[in-house]
């Protein structure tokens, strides 16, 4: 299994600012993903972080709002830009690799925008 470290664990941010969330994996993995979980809701996929190229975004999510980087096979960042209170959610990093059937998750970042 993969051990995933996600930082920060939580943050309270002012509207209009940006926050970058980091996801570090203890081993090289094929795939990395970012999910959003709005209060009391299920998880929704934001994008697939592609190593060395632009992320692949799901419908309803755009690069200008959620820029993603993945410089190598163990690290990715998600930035939430120009935040509004509607961005208050839990953001989770997830990884998958051909060595395992299931996906693994970081502990999530609880973001509150005021």
């Amino acid at each position: 299994s993969a051990v995933i470290s996600q930082k920060p664990s939580r943050d309270i941010c002012q509207r209009g600012t940006s926050l970058t969330i980091q996801c570090q994996v203890d081993s090289q993995v094929t795939m990395m993903f970012w999910y959003r979980q709005q209060p009391g809701q299920s998880l929704t996929l934001i994008a697939t972080a592609n190593q060395g190229s632009e992320a692949t975004y799901e419908s309803g999510f755009v690069i200008d709002k959620f820029p993603i980087s993945r410089p190598n096979l163990t690290f990715s960042t998600l930035t939430v830009s120009n935040m509004s209170p509607e961005d208050s959610s839990i953001y989770l990093c997830s990884v998958g690799d051909v060595r395992n059937t299931e996906a693994f998750f970081g502990q999530g970042t609880r973001l509150t925008v005021v």
Binding site: M31, F33, L43, E102, A103, G108, R110
Partner: protein, 115 residues
């Protein structure tokens, strides 16, 4: 994207009793995986159990077992001998059988365990 439906927003169970959570899904694929994840208040997503679609035998992990009905596209989770630590949100999730680890999640079921 595949649709995963959990029709029970909340379930309550007495400690040591059994509770069953329902999940249905919609797919045209023949090769896929199904999972139940548990999310306690800590936010950490914890894998409870997995089922490969090509396997007819229902998966079992200690007190957790599934009833996988492929033709009916149903995947229920049974928690036996419920413990206080089982209290959490439970998500049913679908993954394509290709080398794509994107998950489609159901809405979740909150399980409360009464002492």
């Amino acid at each position: 994207a595949q649709t995963v439906t959990q029709s029970q927003p909340e379930m309550s169970v007495q400690e040591a009793e059994t509770v069953t959570l329902s999940c249905t899904y919609d797919t045209s694929e023949s090769d896929y995986y199904l999972f139940w994840y548990k999310q306690p208040p800590s936010r950490q997503m914890i894998l409870v159990i997995r089922q490969e679609a090509y396997k007819q035998q229902n998966a079992t992990e200690n007190r957790f077992s599934v009833n996988f009905q492929k033709a009916a596209k149903s995947f229920s989770l049974k928690i036996s001998d419920s413990q206080l630590g089982d209290a959490a949100m439970y998500f049913c999730a679908y993954r394509s059988g290709s080398y794509d680890y994107k998950l489609s999640f159901g809405a979740g079921t909150t399980v409360t365990v009464r002492a």
